[in-house]
Symmetry: C2
Subunit: 246 residues, 2 copies
Amino acid sequence: MIKALVFDAYGTLYDVQSVAAEIEAAFPGHGDFITQVWRLKQLEYTWLRSMMGTYADFWPVTREALVYALDILGMSLEPERLESLVGAYNRLLPYPDSEACLAALGRYRRVVFSNGSPSMLAALIDRSALRPCLEAVISVDAARVFKPDPRAYALVEATLGAAPQDVVFVSSNGFDASGAKAFGFKVVHIERLPAASLRAEIAAATTIDPKTMYKALRVQRETMGFIPDIVISSLAELPAALERMA
Amino acid sequence: MIKALVFDAYGTLYDVQSVAAEIEAAFPGHGDFITQVWRLKQLEYTWLRSMMGTYADFWPVTREALVYALDILGMSLEPERLESLVGAYNRLLPYPDSEACLAALGRYRRVVFSNGSPSMLAALIDRSALRPCLEAVISVDAARVFKPDPRAYALVEATLGAAPQDVVFVSSNGFDASGAKAFGFKVVHIERLPAASLRAEIAAATTIDPKTMYKALRVQRETMGFIPDIVISSLAELPAALERMA
């Protein structure tokens, strides 16, 4: 029995790579490097801060990660420009299939559950056409710990009253799919880049660049166990996958 | 009052990059990529498993991370060869300055505190000349959680009876230096690659390769706060740094 569909936001409904154009405009020639290091450190700092018991919400964490990426290059920004560029995470583009997917699943309760702070998620979702499809937007902020800590995932039941085994959790982030499965959700992993495509990309590369390295680190299935129930390659395949699951 | 010196192992006393030759021999042309992805995922899985409450010791974590790196390339190994290659982490080379540094600090209690499992650390340390310098080798395994969880760092006091403020913690890993500082240790960060050198390396590169990307992600100071008390560029500088500190 599927009682709710829970979608991750960053990387699943919204394309984190869409910050690259803004970064490239601000730092010509460095858009790719900064984009990849920024995202990698952003996630890393959510994990480290959770473990250290030094939670800060996703806005300062995103800022710290951007400062890190710029600092590696010996660059920095005035505070106002820095805040403005951090805001690129509030201007991410939805994937082309996000709206149609959510719209096609009106028979289910649909929510977003994300690392983003409430204000970041409000800014992000209100810019796109996804809001009318969503019953709720749940931020980890209420638990003051990030995914994949089970105290974060527990907010879904606390908000929706749906037991984990009745929830289908949808994520493109391998670590999130693993964490959600370990927690007890049914899990659909959206693997937007098939393993064979990444292998071909690596085989064709003279030097493996930061963007390919990012893909190698972040958008493939994890090998920790906690296997997703279903792996599909786009949100467009989700309605059919749910019918098979039900 | 400095009552004990506590050294991280992987990346601080022992060079994790020293697995690259063994990897390159096993997978010609892929030594660098596998080495970097392996180490990056190894640390990532320590964090994720700690957060998820699904601890496994550092041996299976190291194996999972190697399987991940090979899988990205569409490669795999028979179980026996896989175990053998995971063992490369038990054959890491100490940095050239490790032994002299520990030997020169005989007036202090000296211990290793590491993510490694007890058997991995025994294998690693018994191969090198460091053992006679060490009073104890403390593994996070007793706490069943990895660094930077404070429950891991608490093992130092439980083992040595020295309060955190009387302990000098020495690490080349930015996340570990941050975690140790947040916990309450005095912290010396060994920044083997100065920021200016990495900037020059990036500026000179036509394409930023996986090894440079690794350096950008792992061997620079973090920007989460939790500033180390002292930053030096090699273990050789540690005795003088401790005199200044005392």
